[in-house]
Structure formats: C-alpha cells, structure tokens
C-alpha cells in the first residue's frame, strides 16, 4: 500500500512512454512549421491565412466533419433508443458492430462500388429505366465522404451509447409517468442528463477523426474543394520543399483547434458528471 501511494507516479510511466512518439511528432511539426530554409519565421502561417485553397479546405473540412459527426450521433442515438432492449443480446449487437471491423479505406471502396456512377445502385437504377443517377461519390459537396463516415461511425456511436441506456434505472421512467410527464419528459429528464456527457465525448472523437483522417476523403473526395488532410498530404509530398512547412502549419492549427475543442468539452462534461455524482462541493 505504502509503495503504491509513494510510487503512484510510476503507473503513469507506460502512458508517458506511449506518448513520447506522438508528442515528438507534434513538437517536430510545430518546430518545422516555424522554419523555412533553416530560419525561424511566421511566414507559413501568414501564407496559410492568405491562401484561398487553405481557407476553402478549412470550410469544407469543418462542414464535412460536423455533418458526419452530427448525423452519426443522431442516427446512432435514434437506433440505440429504439432497439437497446434487443441490442442486449449477443447476435444483434455483433451485427450492428460489424462495420467497425473493417478499415475505413475498405469501407470507402465499398461505398464506391455501391454508390458511384458506375456502381451497383447506379446499374440497378439504369436497369429500372432511370437515366440520371445522382453523383454521390467524388462530388464537390462531400456526400460520398459523409455517407462513408456516417455508415462507419454509427456503430461506434451505438457502442458508446448502449452502456448509458443499460445503466438507466427503468423506475425513473415510471416515476416521470406518475408525476404527470409524458415521453418527452422521460427523454429530457431521465435519458438526456446521462446521454449528454457521452454524446459530447463521442462527438469529439468522431469529429477529431473525420476532420483529420486522410483515406476516405482521398478516395471519395474531389480536387477542389479538398479536405484539410488531403491538402496537407499533397503539400507534404508535393514537388516543392517550401510547401512542407505549410503542411506542418496546417496540421498544427488543426491539432490546436481539436485540443481547444476537447478541453472545452472536457471541462463542461466533468462539471456535469461531478455535480451528478458529488454535488457542488
């Protein structure tokens, strides 16, 4: 006992060791984003904010990531709320979680095979007499990317929300009824306070992933507008060595944005959770 209380910092060691690599990567990226031809400068950041390509990539990335995360959350919530008694058994739960087993790029290929203009659905559409199948993949509005992410992330949202529903005492639903409340009151007072912190957490995870992941937008996106990750990749592996600092600066700004968002979410969530568990003190 004495050992564990005195040396509890040792327990952090594995986590610290694990974080060395990404932290080194982040530090190196920050350092290189402020350097050009061996000199310290803010020019990469200045160029970024003057670049229309970068600003449209930011807008497009935010839009795609926000819509993907929000739709995943809403569909996942609706699905979990409607079917959670069935999802308690093994087989239905496995079926729902199946898409999580596939890597994102495999899922992206599947969406192309199904929904592209030469895909399965388009062929069925033509066979049925249709002559103008809508562009759902590699489109300028990011529909293909959003569809892929929503399809892939809904099972993850269910995975996160299912334990919440499993822990809500069913007596609370009866309580609201006997007090005079209906279905909306049950959702608002019984479910929502438990769901909200997990929803924020899940949103942050899905949002951080969708705004920064590369494979899906590279497969299903267009050259303009492009997602921030694709643009950074192109700058990083492009022919001009000078563009590398732009790639680093873009990724540093994105990381900073995600960190600030996570910090705000974390503070808010913990305040809510702490009050439910311990009160104000």
């Amino acid at each position: 006992m004495k050992w564990s209380s005195n040396k509890s910092w040792l327990l952090f060691l594995p986590a610290v060791l694990f974080l060395i690599l990404p932290l080194y990567g982040l530090a190196a990226a920050i350092s290189q984003s402020f350097q050009q031809q061996g000199e310290w400068t803010l020019s990469a950041y200045q160029q970024l904010f003057q670049s229309d390509r970068f600003l449209s990539a930011v807008g497009f990335s935010l839009e795609v990531a926000f819509l993907s995360s929000l739709l995943s959350l809403l569909i996942g919530l609706l699905f979990t709320r409607s079917f959670y008694p069935y999802l308690a058994s093994h087989t239905p739960r496995l079926i729902v979680w199946m898409p999580m087993l596939f890597p994102h790029f495999v899922w992206g290929y599947m969406v192309i095979l199904l929904l592209s203009e030469t895909g399965v659905l388009a062929q069925v559409f033509t066979l049925l007499g249709g002559d103008d199948f809508p562009t759902l993949t590699q489109d300028s509005r990011g529909i293909g990317i959003i569809l892929t992410y929503v399809w892939k992330e809904v099972p993850f949202v269910i995975l996160m929300l299912l334990p919440v529903y499993a822990t809500i005492k069913p007596e609370y639903y009866d309580l609201v009824k006997t007090l005079g409340g209906g279905a909306w009151s049950q959702f608002k007072q019984v479910e929502w306070p438990h769901l909200l912190p997990v929803m924020i957490e899940t949103f942050l995870i899905v949002f951080a992933f969708t705004i920064s992941a590369y494979e899906v937008p590279a497969l299903l996106g267009t050259t303009f507008p492009e997602m921030l990750s694709v643009l950074s990749y192109n700058w990083f592996y492009g022919s001009s060595w000078d563009d590398r600092s732009l790639a680093f600066a873009a990724m540093v700004l994105l990381s900073l944005f995600i960190l600030i968002l996570t910090f705000i979410g974390y503070i808010y969530m913990n305040k809510k959770r702490f009050r439910m568990m311990k009160g104000k003190s």
């Binding site: 009824k177 007072q189 439910m276």
Partner: protein, 319 residues
C-alpha cells in the same frame, strides 16, 4: 357515498399467473390505508395497477365516482413514492420539487417554498441529491410527489432502505405530515408494526387479495383467518378455525389443571422491552411460539396452558 378511491374486483394476470385476485376496497378522503403482506403477495403490483403503470386484466378503478381504469399513469391524479427516492441527480433539491410542481393542476408560487419548509429542508434547497442523506432524499421524493397535488399518494415501502432509527423517526414524521394535510394515501409495507403505525386502517394482503381490512386493534382482537392471526402475531393458532391470544396463555413448569396444555422446550432467549422472551418449540403440535417467560432457561421444559373459555374462532365469533 363517493369515495376518493374505489377498486372493484381488480384482477391482474401475467400469462397464467393471477397476481391480483378480485381486489376490492374503498378509501375515504384523508384516510391512510396501510397494506401489509409477505413478499410476493402482490402488494407492489396492486400499487402499480392503482398508479396506472399496469393495466388490470379485469375490474374497475374509480376516483371520486369517475372511472379511471383506462386512464394512463400521467393522466391520473395519483402520486407514487418509490422504495428508492429516485431523485434526479442533475437537479438540486429545490429543482426536484419544482419539477413535480410543474405538473400540478393549480400553480401556487410559494408551494415549493412551503414544501421545502414542511419537509424541514429549506436550508438544503441548493444541494444536489448526492450531498444529502438517504432520509432527506426520501423526504424530497415525498415533497416532489405532493408538489403534483395528487388526490391520492401511494407509498411503496419508502423506508425499506433506511436504517432502523431513521426509519422509526421518519414513520412518525410522515404520519403527522399526512394527518396535518389530510392527504389520502396508501402505504405499502411488509412490516406489521409500520403498517399499524401508519394506517388508519390496515389491509392484510396475501395471494393477490385482502384477507382483512380493519382498524389495527380490530385486526389484532378479531383476526379474520389463520393467515391474518399468524401474520399480525400475538396469537397462538390452534387450527384453521380457532386461536387463542398469547396474552391468555400461561407458561408453567406444571400442567394447568383445566383446558388444553402442551409441552414445550425453550430453544432460545431474547430480551425485549424489559422482558425475557422465550422462543419455544412444541413437538406434539410441530409448532413454535414466542412468549415472555420470567426466569426462562435454554433447554428448559415448560407447559403452555390454554384455558378453554379463552379460545376464539376466527372472524370474532366465540367458540
């Protein structure tokens, strides 16, 4: 006469099992009815059916002369206080009560403040449920139920999760609280002492129906059947038809000259209310009983004597 609550032949069946069997009772304005019975007798199902959380298979339920059998729980003017306080953990004490008041038919501005003061928790209005004790939580749950201004409040063993001292104090507090406000209520418990303390009348519930509903002293003096006599205690049940109050039994080391007598062995001794209580087994009758016996010793053989003239028949008839 129109009763505040009246159940007629209320029956509830789950698959083939009949949980409530033609339950019948009436409740007057301001009356407190205690329902006592062993676990699994159907008490909670009865409360849930009255509250509208379960639909009866047969029978009717009316409030002040109006049939409410088909009404949903949130449309009935019946509140329910559960075994657990079930306070909303994200709301303060005051917000929990205010949530109940939101559904009240008439909204008085000061009702929440009044209720906080009535439950003696005005100083805790800004506290969260995690910051107050179990007894305080249960009082908040009661105030929240009252805030909806129901015509009847149902209590489903509200003190069962509290320690004996707190439980005792809260019983007295609640009894006075209900009496002062003339709140019509049904109090379910499995504890006979609690039932007698809380109720103007006590209903003994067994096998899905009332075995007897009466004032506590009538239940004790004139049990309707062997089950009531055994459950209420204080009687020696001789057969399914006759019993003798334990106060009329005598324990001697010699056989009583007249009446029935049975040999008993003292197996355990406990002490209660300043008396030595002997727990005895009567091998001839294959029964056990408990009586105060001065100077009792474990292993001692004694005679229990029942004078013939004191033996009673169930239902208050003389033998």
């Amino acid at each position: 006469m129109s009763y505040v609550l009246e159940a007629n032949d209320l029956t509830k069946q789950f698959h083939k099992e009949r949980i409530l069997n033609r339950v019948q009772f009436q409740l007057k304005k301001g009356e407190v009815l205690s329902i006592v019975g062993p676990s699994g007798s159907g008490k909670t199902t009865l409360l849930r059916t009255l509250a509208g959380l379960e639909k009866p298979t047969e029978g009717t339920l009316s409030m002040s002369g109006h049939d409410i059998t088909e009404k949903k729980a949130n449309e009935r003017s019946i509140g329910l206080v559960f075994q657990q306080p079930l306070l909303f953990p994200h709301m303060t004490v005051e917000e929990n009560i205010r949530y109940g008041a939101k559904f009240a038919r008439s909204s008085k501005k000061d009702s929440v403040t009044d209720l906080l003061s009535a439950i003696e928790l005005s100083d805790y209005r800004g506290y969260y449920p995690a910051e107050i004790s179990g007894g305080q939580q249960q009082r908040v749950a009661l105030a929240r139920a009252i805030a909806t201004e129901p015509d009847v409040i149902l209590f489903d063993e509200p003190f069962s999760s509290l320690d004996p001292k707190l439980r005792h104090d809260l019983r007295i507090w609640l009894r006075e609280f209900l009496a002062e406000r003339s709140i019509t209520s049904i109090f379910v418990t499995h504890d006979t002492e609690e039932a007698m303390l809380m109720g103007d009348r006590v209903g003994v519930f067994h096998e899905g129906t009332f075995q007897q509903i009466d004032r506590p002293e009538v239940l004790y003096k004139e049990p309707a059947n062997a089950f009531v006599a055994r459950f209420i205690g204080g009687h020696f049940v001789l057969s399914e038809h006759e019993y003798i109050p334990l106060s009329n039994c005598s324990v001697t080391t010699n056989a009583y000259e007249t009446g029935r007598r049975y040999m008993a062995t003292i197996q355990h001794i406990t002490f209660q209310h300043g008396q030595t209580i002997a727990h005895m087994s009567m091998e001839d009758l294959n029964k056990t009983t408990t009586l105060p016996v001065a100077g009792a010793e474990v292993g001692q053989t004694v005679w229990l004597s029942f004078p013939d003239e004191q033996i009673c028949a169930f239902g208050g008839r003389a033998v």
